[in-house]
């Protein structure tokens, strides 16, 4: 039986193991424990090993090893290439929220300063109203509009950057649905490794969790697509085949994510066959 600081051989003899925390950690990682026969360390074994002067020294030395391991795992978790992309996507989505919120307020404010202005027929296009607001008579409103303009520029720049980085970090999934949508799916899955380990059916409904759980709980119709809907081949597909397109595309994305995670390079052969299959479906021939 092997333990972090000692081992017990078949005859029951105790063999202490000495070493720096790093060596002990490497040793623990190499141990294959069989839980069916495992017996934990006892105070008696620890004392007999003669390695530790007292209980507090034992805990102190053990903590050195486990803390080292914990730090390594934290480091590994954040050092992945996908970690920064994930943060960028979340920032982008939050900027969208903030921009929507602030632009609504800006328009309301502008209406007050300019009673002749009506939003009728101009719904949802802050971009078109913004130049007007920038020429408003109210200096504080102009100032805010200026900030808003800057925010929208920053958003556009960030979106381009997400697309570019996604093309490098997740080349296959980006090729299939575009960098922005691919990055969003990856972020929602919680990282590239998580996405790579996900079945296609989960990829299909990522981002439609509310609909999915209402389906599971109350038996309402199952969602056909989540974030994947944002891709043109899904939302441009005729209604009757949209679910099918989403399903096939998601299945190919799941494969693409695995290639991205394990190989990290574009696979032209896979991409060509996947694109052909999806396109044939949109044509309605499948």
């Amino acid at each position: 039986m092997e333990y972090w600081c000692l081992s017990v051989d078949d005859r029951g003899d105790l063999l202490p193991v000495e070493g720096a925390p790093l060596d002990l950690l490497a040793r623990v990682r190499s141990i294959a424990t069989d839980m069916r026969t495992f017996r934990p360390l006892t105070a008696d074994m620890i004392q007999k090993s003669g390695l530790f002067s007292d209980r507090s020294e034992y805990i102190r030395r053990l903590r050195e090893v486990t803390t080292l391991q914990a730090r390594e795992e934290i480091r590994d978790a954040v050092s992945g290439k996908d970690a920064e992309l994930l943060q960028m996507v979340r920032m982008l989505d939050q900027m969208d929220e903030v921009i929507n919120l602030l632009s609504e307020r800006l328009v309301e404010w502008y209406q007050v300063t300019n009673p002749a202005f009506s939003q009728k027929g101009k719904q949802g296009s802050v971009k078109r109203i913004l130049p007007k607001i920038l020429r408003s008579r109210s200096p504080p409103l102009r100032g805010m509009a200026k900030e808003m303009e800057g925010l929208m520029e920053a958003r556009t720049a960030l979106a381009a950057e997400v697309s570019r980085l996604a093309g490098r970090v997740i080349p296959n999934t980006s090729e299939l649905v575009g960098g922005l949508v691919a990055a969003r799916i990856m972020a929602r899955a919680g990282g590239l490794e998580k996405l790579a380990r996900m079945p296609g059916s989960s990829v299909q409904v990522i981002g439609a969790e509310a609909a999915l759980f209402s389906h599971i709980r109350q038996g309402s119709p199952s969602p056909k697509h989540g974030i994947i809907f944002q891709h043109r081949r899904v939302h441009n597909a005729p209604r009757e085949v949209r679910g099918r397109v989403a399903r096939v595309l998601a299945a190919k994305l799941a494969i693409g994510a695995r290639i991205d995670f394990f190989r990290g390079e574009p696979d032209p052969e896979f991409l060509a066959s996947a694109q052909a299959m999806i396109d044939s479906m949109v044509g309605g021939s499948l």
Partner: protein, 200 residues
């Protein structure tokens, strides 16, 4: 358990998570910590200075820090890197916490670090909570105690908490545990049950 004005408290240096202090003790909020909630519902739950505890699902170490105030040593297992970072900060101040980065569904990976423990405490958001608990019984000393905080919603949201609860009790009994007491942690936590067991 130490109580001040009907509140559960723990001895130890404060300032772990902005907890309130009363008479020099750290207030252990039952709305934040399921173990504190259990203590509010059951007077007989106790932690002593000689106890060794295996804590599965340590999260960011809030409850762990209170447990560490009472017992000899806490082996705190957490899987997710984010809360693990906070747990390490808590463990810096409390030298009797052994932070372990590990997946509770795979005890074989960290078994070499563990010794026999008197209390096995589990609070994990996983589907197979009974299975995880049973996998850790080899670490429990004879006559040791088990406290399972069952998150029924994590097991299966399609079934009612009561169904999940009944099935869990059955599995624990089949696994060789004697279920002593059970509580629903209302009003402190919803759809959470506490199951107190001993090993045969």
């Amino acid at each position: 358990m130490i109580r001040v004005d009907g509140q559960i408290v723990s001895p130890g240096a404060g300032g772990v998570y902005n907890e309130r202090m009363v008479q020099g003790y750290r207030v252990w909020d039952p709305y934040r910590s399921k173990l504190s909630a259990l203590c509010m519902l059951d007077d007989s739950i106790d932690l002593s200075g000689t106890m060794r505890v295996l804590y599965l699902g340590a999260a960011n170490g809030t409850t762990v820090s209170h447990v560490a105030d009472y017992v000899e040593v806490v082996y705190a297992v957490e899987f997710a890197p984010r809360p693990l970072r906070d747990l390490l900060v808590v463990a810096e101040k409390r030298k009797n916490i052994v932070p372990i980065a590990g997946d509770a569904t795979r005890p074989d990976r960290y078994a070499p670090y563990l010794e026999e423990v008197d209390l096995l405490y589990q609070d994990v958001a996983q589907p197979d909570q009974a299975g995880i608990l049973l996998k850790h019984l080899p670490f429990l000393t004879t006559g040791g105690q088990v406290i399972l905080m069952l998150k029924t919603r994590s097991v299966d949201i399609r079934r009612t908490p009561e169904e999940v609860f009944a099935e869990t009790i059955e599995r624990l009994t089949e696994g060789g545990l004697i279920v002593q007491k059970t509580f629903w942690l209302e009003p402190y936590h919803h759809d959470h049950a506490a199951i107190v067991c001993t090993l045969t």
